[in-house]
Amino acid sequence: MGFWKLSKRHAWMLGALAGIVSLVIGVFQGQFAVVWKKAVMICLECIGIG
């Protein structure tokens, strides 16, 4: 089986791996805290007030 055919079949794994790597980088950059802070306050823009 050629490299490209194998790559296409397993591309979802590469995508998932990229996702996990992104999440790990996000942990080190403190981005989870940014998301949490935004998500636990009522978002006035989202409800059409802000």
Binding site: W12, Q31, V35
Partner: protein, 276 residues
């Protein structure tokens, strides 16, 4: 399959919006689960929401000081997209469920698509670029960063966030003004259109659908076509609610993996899930 999908949609919506205290008191959940994102478009200001919206998270990270790569939002989008693609839209999105239910109301002759569908379907990519990315950075706020998609467009935020919160919270209700009515108008337009046309928001405006559509070609969950057994009866094309051709089913960015083609095939040559 139809009943199974509706059950999954209802259960997922109830579980991910199950914070009843919020609905009763006009408040939102503030626990640790909100570090994570749900796969579908689910406003984190919905009183019942137990996790964050991936598009809201993307905009929150883009709105930070300086230009940062939004790793956390991209991480969740890559994970959900790589495993599921637009299966998320068909099976797990609360706003998709609302549109599905509205389309079942038997009062208009149903249409799969709007006129100019071939052009309009690119609207969701324009929304993703202009409202979510560029808009979040500077466009609509006059160089002040605002979550432009949430603020000006998102009907899910109005339906699941604004209406329950304003209903239960007097202080918020007194502040509702022009922006709220603008968003309410968008929601009403989409609600009315959904009765006639299948999922107009998902097909033409949803930035999350635009992102997951890119993953459809290689995501783990696929609809596979056994070409050898196919008798070209085109039952699948007639059943497809978003008017895809047989060749486009599953790999097209428009396929939401609803499974109606799988049910419709008399030869059983369409299957869910990826075969090894």
């Amino acid at each position: 399959m139809k009943r199974l999908r509706l059950t999954v949609q209802l259960l997922f919506t109830i579980v991910t919006n199950g914070y009843m205290y919020g609905f009763l008191n006009g408040k939102i959940y503030r626990g640790a689960l909100k570090y994570a994102c749900v796969p579908g478009l689910n406003c984190y200001s919905c009183p019942g929401a137990i996790a964050a919206c991936p598009i809201g998270a993307l905009q929150a990270l883009l709105n930070q000081r300086g230009l940062q790569i939004p790793f956390v939002a991209l991480g969740f989008l890559f994970l959900f997209g790589s495993f599921l693609g637009r299966f998320v839209c068909g099976w797990l999105c609360p706003f998709g469920l609302v549109q599905d239910l509205l389309h079942r109301i038997p009062i208009f002759k149903k249409k799969k698509c709007l006129p100019l569908h071939r052009v309009l379907k690119y609207g969701k990519y324009a929304v993703l670029v202009l409202f979510v990315c560029v808009g979040s950075l500077f466009l609509f706020g006059g160089f002040a960063k605002v979550p432009a998609f949430c603020k000006y467009l998102c009907p899910s935020g109005t339906l699941f966030g604004a209406l329950p919160l304003l209903g239960a919270n007097e202080a918020l209700r007194s502040q509702a003004g022009g922006l709220f009515f603008w968003k309410l108008g968008i929601l009403l337009g989409i609600v009315l259109l959904s009765v006639k046309v299948y999922r107009p928001f998902c097909q033409y405006l949803c930035p999350l659908g635009a992102v997951y559509g890119w993953f459809n070609r290689f995501s783990l969950v696929q609809i596979q076509w056994e070409k050898g057994r196919c008798v070209s009866c085109m039952a699948c094309e007639r059943a497809c609610p978003v008017a895809l051709s047989l060749q486009e089913i599953s790999c097209s960015p428009e396929c939401i993996r609803c499974g109606k083609c799988v049910d419709a095939c008399p030869q059983k040559c369409l299957h869910f899930w990826k075969k090894s």
